[in-house]
């Protein structure tokens, strides 16, 4: 279970406080596949960072009772100076998975080949995205946080990601943020709209999309 209770988040810049999230309540359970729709600047990435535990709410509570992935779509989860293999070993140790198995799984799934032994900063964007996704698959999280970026880029790999995530639907929770309704339709069973700092849930996708289009 991943639960937000009355979460507020504001940022201070040049002495001006801007409230991005204004009282968010949400509960995500294993098996949920929720698409969070929001326009640019609606606070999607802030919400993502709070779900992942990167940032902490100004007010309110986050309860994390299942293993939650890093937000996929940012390349922050890996270190550029380390090789792909180093990153894989670190992740294996951190999440208590067999180191050798994680290394070979990630090398194979990411299709990076020999570059796996080179520093991540020498990778192309596509390779980096593949590495990060493969790492998250190796850990086998209870909950995956996904930014829309994953849907972009290399079409063949994006399709593999989609298949891998669909295969997980049911046992893992899936939280996807996007400003595009079609990404949400492909992966999610219900949707929520993030608007003016608040999150409203919809059981019915079409109803959610209709409301989102009117914003």
């Amino acid at each position: 279970m991943l639960q937000l209770e009355g979460v507020y988040k504001s940022f201070k810049k040049n002495g001006i406080t801007r409230e991005v999230l204004s009282g968010i309540d949400a509960t995500f359970l294993p098996g949920d596949a929720v698409g969070i729709l929001g326009r640019n600047g609606a606070g999607k990435s802030t919400l993502m960072k709070i779900l992942a535990g990167v940032e902490h709410p100004t007010r309110g509570k986050v309860r994390r009772r299942m293993s939650v992935s890093w937000p996929m779509g940012y390349d922050a989860a890996v270190h550029g100076a380390l090789t792909g293999a180093d990153n894989a070993r670190f992740i294996a140790r951190l999440y208590d998975r067999p180191v050798g198995w994680v290394e070979s799984f990630v090398q194979e799934f990411s299709e990076i080949g020999e570059e796996f032994r080179k520093p991540v900063k020498t990778y192309s964007d596509g390779m980096k995205a593949r590495l990060i996704f493969a790492l998250s698959m190796a850990v086998d999280f209870d909950c995956y946080l996904i930014d829309e970026v994953i849907a972009a880029g290399d079409a063949r790999f994006a399709e593999r990601c989609r298949q891998a995530l669909l295969a997980r639907r049911g046992r893992s929770a899936l939280i996807l943020v996007s400003h595009q309704t079609n990404t949400v339709r492909q992966l999610c069973s219900h949707a929520a709209i993030l608007h003016e700092g608040r999150l409203s849930f919809h059981e019915d996708l079409d109803q959610a999309f209709a409301e989102y289009e009117q914003l």
């Binding site: 940032e55 007010r59 299942m66 939650v68 890093w70 100076a81 180093d86 951190l94």
Partner: protein
């Protein structure tokens, strides 16, 4: 935590924390030193070079004049400086602790506290090993073996804990104004040199001066460590209860301050 959302037992949650700490320490080694050239050797080389430098400088400055109590001049300043270096490096780096490692926080298992612990333990261990190596070199070369090496290692551990807590306070303060903290931390570590006991022993000084300087917990740790180094040849002045009091206070306040600061830190 398992799928059903049950809380893990105390032992399991302790084990999980240890795993995270271990993973962080190995990663810190890799990211800080890489694998090329001398790699990890730099972990010891930095305190070693600075310590030898200060030792040689003091040899040159003090010429042929004997030290009070006839202590070995070089090893006195060498070990003293390396112990102080531990404080300086941990506190000095603390404001940047997170900026340099923000990627780690994308893993929900990794907390700021764990990142700071991993660094403190790594540097503490490096300094302990560095001191150990020099003690052996000095013993072999000059026949001057330490009286109680274990006591010296306890001294290193106390210094690590004190510096760790102090570092947490500086890190928490960055959430208020990181630029000011950046500017203040360097003079702070620099100006703590005279209050560290690095260049003197308490019994060398006149009574009123002793009383003032003994407010600083650094001096107590330095004297305690030196007792392990030189034994009962000279008098030592320290109070471990006072040191423990400081360690508990800075660590407790540091953790509270960090907890309060977290919502205002941006990554």
């Amino acid at each position: 935590m398992d799928l059903a959302g049950r809380d893990p037992g105390l032992l399991e949650s302790f084990r999980a924390r240890m795993r995270v700490l271990q993973a962080l320490m190995i990663r810190e080694l890799h990211t800080r030193f890489g694998r090329e050239n001398l790699g990890y050797v730099w972990l010891f080389m930095e305190p070693a070079m600075l310590g030898v430098g200060v030792g040689l400088w003091q040899l040159a400055v003090r010429g042929s004049a004997a030290m009070p109590g006839d202590l070995n001049k070089f090893s006195f300043f060498l070990i003293g400086y390396i112990l102080f270096y531990l404080f300086r490096t941990l506190v000095g780096r603390s404001p940047h602790g997170i900026a340099a490692n923000y990627q780690l926080l994308y893993h929900s298992r990794v907390t700021i506290e764990a990142v700071m612990w991993a660094r403190s333990l790594l540097d503490g261990a490096a300094v302990a090993i560095c001191i150990g190596i020099f003690l052996i070199i000095i013993g072999v070369a000059l026949g001057d073996w330490p009286t109680d090496p274990l006591q010296m290692m306890v001294g290193v551990a106390l210094m690590t804990l004190l510096a760790h807590g102090t570092g947490l306070l500086f890190l928490a303060a960055t959430s208020l104004n990181s630029q000011i903290v950046d500017r203040v931390v360097h003079p702070f570590t620099y100006l703590s040199i005279p209050f560290s006991g690095m260049f003197y022993m308490v019994w060398w000084l006149p009574g009123p001066m002793q009383e003032v300087l003994l407010w600083s917990p650094l001096i107590h740790i330095m004297e305690f460590t030196r007792e392990g180094q030189f034994g009962p040849r000279v008098p030592y002045t320290y109070d471990l209860t006072y040191v423990a009091f400081w360690i508990v206070i800075v660590n407790f306040l540091g953790l509270c301050a960090l907890k309060a600061a977290k919502p205002h830190m941006e990554h």
